[in-house]
Amino acid sequence: MPYTITEKCNGCAACARICPSGAISGEKKKRHAINGYLCIECGACGRVCPQSALLDAGGSGCEMLKRSEWLKPELVMEACMACSICVDACPVGCLALSDVPRDKGVDAYPYLKDAKACIGCGFCSQECPADALIMQKPVKKEKAVAAG
């Protein structure tokens, strides 16, 4: 079941802009619609809609969430196989393999190259056979500094 847009939609097109599969279309200021064949249930539309006009695949309403609150993938290096499944799974291309090898052989490991582009869908984490990517709330800067 794909996501659906209810009559609460005011046609602001925020969902259409963020949809990575081009599944949402509609005229400006008019109710938008989702092409069920193209929808990949990433949930990005639901997280950006100021009108709470999105229903998820199970029919539950979605709530808008501040972008800084969206979950982001964190790599558990010891578990990673460097198989690149996560990079392929990412619908927005925000993960990449490191060009310069890090501290485990000469494998290239994934990292969040474009954190701003990440839509927090968690597909990378879901598809990773080794559970080497964990979706976490980003740690706020000041906290990170405080933690050293």
Binding site: S21, L38, I40, S84, D99, P101, V106, D107
Partner: protein
């Protein structure tokens, strides 16, 4: 989305620019999986019997694997299928990289092309929109330049498969390139793409790929990864230590079944090139156009291709999609190109030992320019070796070679020759279609040393050393191929651990026993063919399968991905059906299987007088009937019997 297949294909008619999406019924997947199986199903049913491989009726297919994207490992290979212009037979070539999941993420299990475009085009698929676009500006560019241009245009996440200039020039030994130098090289299918004026396929899909039981898929993948990481003492050996392993295997009168864990360690440490010197020492690698032996390329020479020398240039390992092993690598090179894909064993030996070339830099350079041109490195090296032998025997003279002094080991002349083959200039034009076509044009008895099976140059594995290679080179529906079976492969697949009826090799056996012709040999060879046909339907990598059937859970992944409850025997029947369908394809297209036997030199009809394979010969005439009978094909002709076709539901 809980099915592992997308249930649809895209059929593109280049003659009238019609793009048609078609639904494939579930029973087709149950009978053939996808990948090579789906490709065989479509080509067998839709291509007319007299189709010219270079005409509009040939169908070229880019097929993703059944297991690709389901959470399994070693399952990211895509298969290119078509009628081979090189052999006239069923043609296929498979390749890793990232293209296989990209096909599925566009919503298709495969994309097929028929017809011929009037001008260069490329296919672009994004978000359900499929378009053929003008490729005039791309035509004439090499494969890597073209990929870079297309990624600049469509974004770096786009998956791209292209032909280089060799495909454009309809060289019968050209392939299709992706990921800047991974190439689906065999069967000459790049020429089919070139003649269709299809420069590239660009895929930008984000569809999700399903699996019936994702948790079971992960559990099985972790089991497999545990074995990939299993520590092995071999890691302590330096590269040249592998040569000594080869020497031991040569001098030892008895052998033991080899375990794939050894191979995974070599692959992890060095990549396929880890086998360079070992293969020469043990007699696996053909030398001097299959006329030489390890004595012609002793350690003093083969040290120039010491695996450590190649490893030293590696900047970062390259993993294909879903591969935890990473046998590939990106290397730094000298000269014009800063980076290149680490040359594979096949490329290294075809461009060194087979031509008696001792210059590693030239191997790196040739590997890169051949990848850029999209020309098969195995066939290019083999054709160069053939030309050198013609020159040495006086059949070709300096006048014919445009002044090149084509002597064994003359690196400069060999590089110049291969560059001419790429540009199809002078003698290069004569050689750009492989050894068989060249020998037919040259005449003067040169066909005797044009080593081929059905027109395909065999790989760098000598069937006089492992007779299984000669069986598969000679009897597969796609002749001359090394990735389907051998005695060594059977030992490593360890299929007997999952299939009770298959024989378990003795713990110690004499070398001579490998040459004995009996039913067990036929059974072993047929099991390899069935298993690899199945695996090519699943999109599996053979190197992963070398781990052994209990360590890499192919059958269990297939069940967990599909929700089926099939036994390993049921899956082997799917492999048997795919194999038989390919053979039926050949018969439909007028192929006489007996005409595909490999050249007599490679069979050792006149045995070698020295070296690792001294005195060895393989009687393929006697081996063929047993192999064919295993499939229910006529034992005299190799043609599938009507009752076999009925049993397998092939119409």
């Amino acid at each position: 989305m809980n099915k592992p297949y997308m249930g649809k294909i895209l059929m593109v008619d280049l003659s009238n620019q019609a793009l048609t999406e078609e639904t494939i019924p579930d029973p087709v997947y149950q009978q053939y999986l996808s990948g090579m199986g789906l490709g065989a199903y479509v080509l067998y049913n839709r291509m007319p019997a007299d189709a010219d491989p270079l005409g509009p009726e040939n169908i070229l297919g880019f097929c993703s694997g059944f297991l690709t994207g389901t959470g399994s490992l070693f399952s990211g290979r895509w298969t290119l299928v078509g009628k081979s212009p090189l052999t006239g037979c069923w043609g296929d070539a498979n390749c890793g990289g990232t293209f296989s999941p990209a096909i599925k993420r566009c919503g298709y299990d495969a994309v097929f092309f028929k017809g011929i475009s009037s001008s260069p085009v490329y296919l672009h698929v994004k978000n359900g929109k499929t378009t053929l676009r003008d490729a005039s500006d791309l035509w004439g560019h090499d494969a890597i330049e073209t990929e870079e241009m297309l990624k600049k245009r469509h974004g770096s996440k786009a998956a791209v498969a292209v032909i280089g200039t060799s495909g454009e020039k309809v060289s019968l030994i050209s392939g299709v390139v992706s990921d800047k130098g991974r190439i689906a090289a065999r069967s000459g299918l790049g020429a089919v793409m070139g003649v269709k004026k299809l420069k590239a396929v660009v895929l930008e899909g984000v569809q999700r790929i399903g699996a019936h039981d994702p948790a079971a898929m992960k559990r099985l993948s972790r089991h497999c990864n545990k074995w990939v990481n299993f520590p092995m003492p071999l890691k302590l050996l330096p590269g040249k230590g592998m040569a000594l392993v080869g020497t031991f295997l040569r001098v030892s009168p008895a052998l033991f079944p080899q375990d794939g864990l050894l191979y995974k360690t070599i692959l992890r440490e060095w990549g396929t090139g880890g086998m360079n010197q070992m293969s020469i020492e043990m007699g696996d690698s053909p030398l001097k156009n299959w006329d030489g032996s390890n004595r012609d390329f002793p350690l003093a020479k083969s040290k120039k291709i010491d695996p450590d020398l190649i490893k030293d240039t590696e900047i970062v390992k390259y993993h294909c999609y879903s591969c935890p092993l990473g046998c590939g690598g990106i290397c730094a090179t000298k000269g014009k190109y800063a980076h290149t894909h680490k040359p594979e064993y096949e490329s290294i030996l075809a461009l060194s030992g087979l031509c008696m070339n001792e210059d590693l830099d030239s191997v790196f350079y040739l590997n890169e320019i051949l990848n850029r041109a999209g020309m098969d490195t195995i066939s290019a090296g083999a054709t160069a070796a053939f030309a050198i032998e013609c020159y040495e025997k006086g059949i070709l003279t300096k006048k014919d070679t445009d002044g090149l002094d084509l002597k064994w080991g003359n690196t400069e002349a060999m590089v110049a020759l291969i560059k001419k083959m790429i540009s199809r200039e002078g003698i290069g034009d004569l050689l750009a279609d492989g050894v068989k076509v060249a020998a037919q044009k040259i005449g003067k008895g040169s066909i005797e040393f044009a080593i081929q099976a059905g027109g395909q140059e065999p790989a760098m594995h000598d069937g006089r050393n492992d007779p299984g290679f000669n069986v598969h080179y000679s009897l597969e529906p796609s002749p001359g191929r090394h990735t389907l079976g051998a005695h060594l492969y059977y030992e490593m697949f360890q299929l007997w651990k999952r299939l009770k009826d298959l024989p378990k090799p003795s713990l110690l056996f004499t070398k001579g026993s490998k040459y004995k012709i009996d039913e067990e040999k036929a059974k072993v060879a047929a099991a390899c063919s069935k298993f690899m046909s199945l695996s090519n339907g699943a999109g599996m990598c053979m190197f992963g399968l070398f781990l052994g059937s209990k360590k890499i859970p192919t059958f269990d992944w297939l069940n967990a991905a599909s929700g089926w409850k099939l036994t390993p025997e049921d899956y082997m029947l799917i492999g048997e059906r795919i194999q038989t369908l390919k053979q039926a394809f050949n018969i439909k297209h007028g192929i006489e299987p007996k005409n595909n036997f490999i050249s007599s030199r490679a069979l050792g009809t006149v045995p070698q007088q020295e070296g690792a394979n001294k005195g060895r010969s393989v009687d393929i005439e006697k081996l063929a009937p047993g192999y064919w009978e295993q499939f229910g094909w006529d034992k005299n002709t190799g043609k599938p019997k009507q009752e076999t076709l009925r049993k397998l539901d092939i119409k």
